[in-house]
């Protein structure tokens, strides 16, 4: 090497240019990292319970994240911490120097570009006014605030991850080809961090900077932590416990379909849009109407899962499949109104002639007329089922049941505060309330600002809540908060909520505390 790495003037061969650039970036990294240290070195020596290295390991474990620094103009990965290997399965050497965009899902590139961009062509910044919650346009000139040191960024993007961990010996050869060999899998990463910019002249780097004259005087980058999102899509799908012979539907209170899972099509023959808007009663077999109507009534008044008996559901081709369903009413936690009824439907048995269109089966007790109607090709219109005529009256069953409930509620209604609504569902909530007393809870604990807490509040048995039909049909305010809050008056309860909400102001719209960050150069 003809140039000592400590000299500032490099020879102008490309190799040495790259060295110079590398030095520039090295110093950048050092400044980023030592910058934070300077604020600590000023304080007197402070022994800590954990050496930094150990603390770092714990933070990495807890946060499941990696630190990265990318340049804003090209997205070049200037630095990435070692923990990235555990998360994305790429080695550091593979990533450093590459463009971040090579590792981002194609559809997210625009999003990430925007987050990194210093272009003046971009729309004005959107901020949220903490007081009104409305968006406001920033008054600052576009470029300045974006590049403003400490401007915060937070976004999600899908990043590639390597399925096979890279081995040490092979990493040299695989570095460029591994991306092509393995299938691309993506995971959702939540990136949070800050923008930083440095004047490159101070860095002492010479040689060719970036092509743009403007950019060459400032090096802007994003310093951020990427965390794997704890509920990535793959996991969520894995946790849904709906088997192939099941499908999920949603009914409005009166039994009309408002949501139909696409699995229904293979089972029932209808496309979702053919069912949507029609009443479920139009498809129930006559013999089953009574018991299903009874269940319908029950589910609207209860918070529990209601199981139906086996019943027959008419398919598109006129035959019937035997289903069995679990229903529960999902109730809005705040205003206690029924939002909809969720139905998980399991196939018990298929009709033999399901595949054919000849609908003459002994199970079809009654209307040959109905089966003929089904064979007519009627235009598909939401709200009017294809089984017309004889079964139309069935649709009104649901409406009637829904109206019953509304009348019932009107009679029983109390002022519409969530905290004082009558407990006409007490038997159900009882089994949800446990009498556990929190550990270490004593009556002299201060609850700031609250007028509640007469004794220990009771908590509900808290299920994981990921599956649709979990232990409890639904968590709701009453069972979680328990008796104590319910016994408050309307005003007191609302006051308690507001007092506990005041703290949120400090989290919204606060300027980042720039003094905290001593970024030295």
């Amino acid at each position: 090497m003809c140039c000592n790495k400590h000299t500032k003037k490099g020879c102008f061969s490309s190799f040495h240019l790259r060295i110079t650039k590398k030095l520039f970036f090295n110093r950048l990294i050092l400044s980023i990292i030592s910058g934070s240290a300077s604020s600590f070195s000023e304080a007197s020596y402070k022994p800590s319970f954990l050496p930094d290295e150990e603390l770092k390991h714990l933070v990495l474990k807890a946060a499941d994240g990696f630190l990265f620094v990318v340049g804003c103009d090209r997205g070049k990965i200037v630095f990435v911490s070692e923990s990235v290997t555990k998360i994305l399965n790429y080695s550091r050497t593979e990533l450093i120097g590459q463009s971040l965009f090579d590792y981002i899902h194609p559809k997210d590139m625009g999003k990430v570009k925007e987050q990194l961009s210093a272009s003046e062509l971009h729309p004005r910044e959107r901020l949220i006014d903490a007081k009104t919650g409305l968006q406001v346009q920033a008054d600052l000139p576009i470029g300045a605030s974006r590049l403003c040191s400490g401007a915060r960024r937070s976004f999600f993007c899908r990043m590639k991850y390597n399925k096979i961990p890279v081995k040490v010996e092979e990493k040299e050869t695989q570095a460029n080809t591994s991306k092509k060999k393995e299938s691309q899998k993506y995971c959702t990463v939540h990136c949070t961090g800050y923008m930083r910019s440095w004047p490159t002249s101070q860095m002492g780097a010479e040689g060719e900077g970036e092509a743009d004259k403007q950019d060459s005087s400032y090096f802007s980058c994003l310093v951020a932590v990427g965390r794997i999102h704890s509920h990535s899509a793959a996991q969520v799908n894995g946790e849904v416990r709906v088997r192939p012979t099941e499908f999920v539907t949603r009914y409005a209170m009166d039994g009309k379909f408002t949501f139909v899972d696409q699995r229904a099509t293979t089972i029932l023959g209808y496309l979702p849009q053919e069912l949507l808007g029609t009443s479920c009663y139009e498809y129930f077999h006559q013999d089953d109407l009574l018991h299903l109507a009874d269940r319908h009534r029950k589910v609207l008044r209860s918070r529990e899962k209601i199981e139906t008996n086996c019943y027959k559901f008419k398919t598109k081709y006129g035959s019937f499949v035997t289903l069995q369903s679990q229903w529960f009413s999902f109730v809005n936690p705040w205003n206690k109104e029924v939002e909809y009824i969720v139905s998980t439907n399991t196939v018990i048995s298929y009709d033999n002639s399901r595949t054919g269109r000849s609908g003459h089966k002994s199970e079809q007790s009654g209307n040959s007329k109905a089966s003929e109607d089904c064979k007519k090709s009627l235009p598909v219109l939401p709200g009017i089922s294809s089984a017309s005529g004889t079964m139309i009256y069935a649709g009104s069953i649901g409406t009637q049941i829904a109206n019953e409930l509304l009348d019932f509620n009107k009679l029983n209604s109390s002022p519409s505060s969530p905290f004082s609504l009558a407990q006409d569902k007490s038997p159900q909530t009882l089994h949800q309330i446990t009498n556990s007393v929190p550990n270490g809870e004593t009556s002299d604990m201060e609850i700031p600002g609250k007028s509640s807490s007469e004794g220990e509040p009771q908590g509900a048995s808290f299920s994981g809540g990921d599956s649709l039909m979990g232990e409890n049909s639904q968590l709701d305010l009453d069972s979680v908060v328990g008796a104590s809050l319910n016994s408050l008056s309307n005003d007191e309860a609302a006051m308690a909520v507001i007092m506990s909400l005041l703290e949120t102001d400090t989290n919204l719209g606060e300027a980042v505390d720039f003094e905290e960050m001593h970024w030295s150069l």
Binding site: N26, Y194, A233, N439, L501
Partner: protein
């Protein structure tokens, strides 16, 4: 007789004094072994010394466990960088940063994440907290918090949930993630100054982390968490986010224009609609939990859920929400009849999946020409 009694009393007093002196000496020795600042050490009482010692011992045990587990379990993932072996540019770059980076990376993380680290035992003892906890809670790490039980500092209504998150450490298996929101005492005033311990308010923290199982001794199993307050505003909202306001029942009262390009609804179409209608049925429980968090704790991070796109199919989204008092609240005199509303920032995470699929009633209605 009295002289005898006096003498006995004097002897027992002396003995007691000696015992106390010995006790103080031992405690003093113990406190000097702990990595504490001198100013802090001077003010510690005996229970605090014991608490801090327990923390120290547990942390050491935990780290030993982490190291040994780390070597075994994660060998497949870790890439060791042999120093000074490769020639060329690579080496130049790595060796410099390798030496320096680990030292202050930790502080970088905590700064960027804007949170603190908490290590919780299965019984809820806060074995360890990182230094910067005082910035968020206004309480000092060492004297006031470390070794204490978390249930003394959190809102009673959240205890059940915290206990639920701690409970599963007893089960063997792969390490599990944790993600929940809780309210913790904060001695900070609204302006960020440390106030009186008596006048604490509740701060909402988003805790994320994982279980750290210790096979050797179950008492060392614990929860590692990063805790951070939930900021809602950012200086730049990307094109893939939209903001919305809702009533406390989660019906839309406002939605910004971006929703049209992302989901196909016009903001006017959404007003008065409940968010539950617009999402995939299988995500009902996720939304429910989010809503409950908002009602009870005033801030929430939903998990990922699916919002239905107007013309068919759905997108995966995540919402960060907070309850804010209605327009122009008066802090000094909060009015119970002040309308509260929910402010939500929704990030769209994926593209439109299954665009031809019509799952809900809304999707079947034809679009009217504008």
């Amino acid at each position: 007789m009295t002289a005898d009694k006096e003498k006995r009393r004097a002897i027992s007093r002396e003995a007691a004094r000696r015992r106390r002196r010995v006790e103080s000496d031992v405690f003093g020795d113990l406190s000097r072994l702990l990595p504490l600042q001198a100013s802090v050490r001077a003010h510690l009482d005996k229970p605090s010394i014991i608490r801090l010692t327990l923390s120290f011992i547990r942390m050491q045990a935990l780290l030993r466990e982490t190291e040994s587990a780390g070597c075994n379990a994660e060998a497949g993932h870790a890439v060791r960088f042999p120093r000074g072996v490769e020639a060329g540019e690579g080496r130049l770059f790595e060796s410099e940063t390798e030496e320096i980076a680990p030292l202050d990376e930790t502080k970088m993380y905590l700064k960027i994440l804007e949170g603190f680290l908490m290590v919780l035992s299965t019984t809820g003892d806060m074995i360890f907290l990182s230094d910067n906890v005082s910035k968020y809670m206004g309480l000092s790490q060492q004297t006031e918090l470390m070794g204490h039980n978390i249930f003394e500092y959190t809102h009673p209504c959240d205890h059940e949930e915290i206990r639920h998150n701690l409970r599963l450490t007893a089960e063997l298996g792969c390490s599990q993630k944790r993600d929940f929101v809780m309210r913790i005492k904060s001695a900070l005033t609204h302006r960020g100054r440390v106030g009186n311990l008596k006048s604490t308010t509740w701060k909402v923290l988003h805790c994320q982390g994982r279980v750290k199982l210790c096979v050797a001794s179950s008492s060392v199993s614990c929860l590692l968490l990063t805790c951070r307050p939930l900021p809602l505003s950012h200086t730049l909202l990307s094109t893939h986010t939209f903001t919305s306001q809702h009533g406390m029942d989660m019906r839309f009262t406002y939605c910004d224009q971006r929703v049209t390009s992302l989901l196909g609804y016009r903001p006017e179409e959404l007003l008065g609609r409940s968010i539950y209608d617009l999402c995939h049925t299988l995500d009902t429980s996720c939304l429910n939990k989010n809503h409950l968090n908002l009602c009870l704790k005033s801030q929430s991070v939903s998990g990922q859920y699916r919002m239905l796109v107007r013309s068919g199919g759905y997108v995966w989204v995540e919402s960060h929400s907070a309850v804010i008092p209605g327009v122009q609240p008066s802090r000094s005199r909060p009015n119970p009849s002040q309308p509260l509303c929910i402010l939500s920032v929704t990030y769209v995470l994926s593209g439109v999946e299954e665009p031809s699929l019509q799952l809900s009633l809304d999707q079947t209605f034809p679009r009217y020409p504008r």
